[in-house]
Symmetry: C2
Subunit: 334 residues, 2 copies
C-alpha cells in the first residue's frame, strides 16, 4: 500500500507538499501539482483516513443510534439521513440499542471513541445519562423524536401533540364519543406529548368521560393484545382507537380483520408515523404522518452546518405532522 511518503518521493517533493495538494492548498496548474497527480495515479495512492483523522481530529463520520431497525420507521429515517450526508462525504455508523436504555451509554461511548464528528440519537428513554451529557459537550448530538430531559434544544421532532390533537378532533367531528388512546410506554416524552394532544381535544368538548388511555409499547404485539380484549366485549368497546404508532395500529387492524370485524364500520383506527405498510393494508390506514424526508434533510443540514464550523443553534426544531385520511376511519357505528 502506497503512503503519502511514497508519493512524495516519486514526485520529488516533500510529504507536506503532497498533503497540501490533497487538501486543495496547492495551485493545481503548478508543475509540482502535475507531478504529484501523476505519482498518485501511478502508485494508486489513496490516503489512509485513520491517520488523517487522528491528526486532524475530524473523521467525516457520524453515528446513528436507533432502538430497532426492524421497526420500519427507523430505516426510513436512516435512509434519508444517509443519502443526504453521503452528498457531503460523511459516512454513517448505525447501531441498534434493542430498545434497551442500559446499552445506550456504552454505544454512545464506543462511537465517541471512534471520534465520530456527531451523532443522531433516538433514545429509548427520556432519562439523560451522564455519558450522553459528557459527549454532547464536545460533539453535536442531535436527538430525534424522543426528547431527553435537559436536551430539548438539540431535539428535532414532529409536533406530537398537534398530530394527535388533529386526529382526535377529526374523530370527534365524525361523531365519535367513545375513543380509546393506545399510548406507548408511560415514561417516554413522545408518549406524554401525544397524550396531551388527545386530552386537549377532548377537553375542548368536555368529553373526558367515555374515553380511556391504555399504556403499552410501540409494537404490533401491543395492538394485538388490546384487540383481543376488545373482541371479548364488543358492544361495550369504543367506536374508535388512536394508536401510539402505525405498528400498534396494524396489530389491532390485523387481529380484528382476522376475526371478521369490519373496519372502519365497527371500529375506526388511526395510527402514527405513516410507515410504508400503512398505505398498503386494506382498508388502508388513516394516520398521522411524520415527515421523514424533511427529518433527514433538516437533521443532516444541521449536522453538516456544525461540522463546517457552525455552532448548534440552541432551539428545538419542531416539524409539522400531517393527518393522512385513508380508509380505516368513518363515522361511528350507531
Amino acid at each position: 500500500m502506497a503512503t503519502i511518503s511514497d508519493v512524495a518521493r516519486e514526485a520529488g517533493v516533500s510529504r507536506t507538499t503532497v498533503s497540501r495538494y490533497l487538501n486543495g492548498q496547492l495551485n493545481d496548474s503548478s508543475d509540482k501539482a502535475q507531478r504529484i497527480a501523476r505519482a498518485i495515479a501511478e502508485l494508486r495512492y489513496h490516503p489512509n483516513l485513520l491517520a488523517r483523522s487522528l491528526r486532524s481530529a475530524t473523521t467525516r463520520s457520524i453515528a446513528v443510534i436507533v432502538p430497532d431497525l426492524s421497526n420500519p420507521f427507523y430505516p426510513t429515517l436512516l435512509s434519508a439521513i444517509e443519502a443526504r450526508l453521503a452528498q457531503h462525504g460523511v459516512q454513517v455508523f448505525v447501531g441498534q440499542s434493542g430498545d434497551d436504555a442500559r446499552r445506550e451509554p456504552t454505544m454512545l461511548q464506543d462511537y465517541y471513541n471512534r471520534r465520530v464528528d456527531g451523532m443522531i440519537y433516538v433514545s429509548a428513554t427520556s432519562e439523560p445519562d451522564p455519558v450522553l451529557r459528557q459527549i454532547a459537550k464536545s460533539i453535536p448530538v442531535l436527538m430525534l423524536d424522543e426528547q431527553v430531559t435537559g436536551f430539548s434544544d438539540a431535539t428535532i421532532r414532529v409536533d406530537h401533540e398537534r398530530g394527535v390533537y388533529q386526529a382526535t378532533k377529526y374523530l370527534l367531528d365524525l361523531g365519535h364519543r367513545h375513543v380509546t388512546y393506545l399510548a406507548g410506554p408511560r415514561h417516554l416524552t413522545t408518549t406524554q406529548l401525544r397524550l396531551r394532544g388527545f386530552e386537549t381535544a377532548l377537553a375542548e368538548r368536555s368529553l373526558t368521560d367515555a374515553t380511556e388511555v391504555i399504556y403499552g409499547s410501540y409494537t404490533m404485539e401491543a395492538g394485538r393484545l388490546w384487540a383481543q380484549r376488545f373482541l371479548e366485549n364488543l358492544e361495550r368497546g369504543p367506536t374508535a382507537v388512536i394508536c401510539a404508532n402505525d405498528l400498534v395500529a396494524l396489530g389491532v387492524h390485523r387481529t380484528l380483520t382476522e376475526n371478521g370485524i369490519v373496519i372502519p364500520n365497527f371500529l375506526s383506527i388511526i395510527g402514527f408515523d405513516d410507515i410504508f405498510v400503512s398505505s398498503l393494508v386494506s382498508p388502508s390506514l388513516t394516520t398521522i404522518r411524520q415527515p421523514f424526508e424533511q427529518f433527514g434533510q433538516v437533521v443532516s443540514e444541521r449536522l453538516v452546518e456544525v461540522l463546517h464550523g457552525g455552532t448548534l443553534r440552541d432551539s428545538p426544531m419542531i416539524l409539522a405532522p400531517e393527518l393522512i385520511v385513508r380508509e380505516s376511519t368513518s363515522p361511528p357505528r350507531p
Copy 2:
C-alpha cells in the same frame, strides 16, 4: 481528554504497561493493574480508537453496502447483521448506492480508506469492478444475494432457482397453465437464476408455450406498470404471475385491488423475499421467503471468523428458500 500517557503517569508505569493492561496481557490481580484501573477510572480514560487502529491495522468495523434502504428487504438484513456483529464488538458503516452501479467503486474505496476490516456488499450489478477486485485481495468482501462474476466463492445467497422452481411447480399443481414471470433487470444474476427455476419447472411439463417473461426492475412501480397492461386485456391475460420480488408483487396487488379485480380468484400472485408487509396486505401474499435471520447469522459468523484470523473458505454458501403459501394463490379461473 485523557490519553494513555496520562494514565501511565498517574499510575506510575509506562505507556506500554497500560497498553498491555488494556489488551488483557497483564495479570489482573497485580499491584500495577490495580493502580492502572484506578487511574483509568479517575481520569475517565477511554482509548482513542483511531490511534489504536492506525497502529494495529484493525478497526473492528465493517461496511455494509446496499442498493437502497427504502426497500424493506435491506433493513431487515442490516438489522440482523448489525445485531450479530455488535455482539462481537464490531461496528457497522452503512451506505446506499442508490442502485447506481457507477457509484459503488467509489463507495468501496471510501470505506476501504477507513480501513474497515471487511465488507458486506449487495451489488447493483453483476459486473465486477477493478476496485472491488483490488480490495477483495486484502480484506474479506462478502457478497449477498447478487452474485458478481468471478466472486461466486464469496457469495452468500438463497437458492434463487430452487425458490422460483418450487413456486412455479406449486402454481402448475394448482392447475395454472398460463403463467407470467415478471423478472428483475435482465443483466443481474439473481434475475437469471430465478428465471432458470421458472423455466425448469415449465420444461418438466413441456409447458413453455402459454407463458411469458417480462423484464423490469425490483420496484412497486414495475408491478404497477405490468398490472395496468394486464387490466387492458383481462380475459387474454395469464391466470397467475410470479414476481421478481415482493415489492413488484405488491405493486400488482395494489393496482388490481384498486380496480376491483379479485385476488386470487382472477389472478394468483407470488412474490419473493417475504418482507414484513407481505403478511399484512389483504389477501396476504404467497411468497418465497429469504431466511433473513439466517443470512445475518451466517454472514456475521463468516466475517467474524475471518476477523479472528481465519481465512475465507472458498465455497459459496447457498441457503434454502421456503415457499410461504398464503392467500394470494388459488386454482385458476375457469
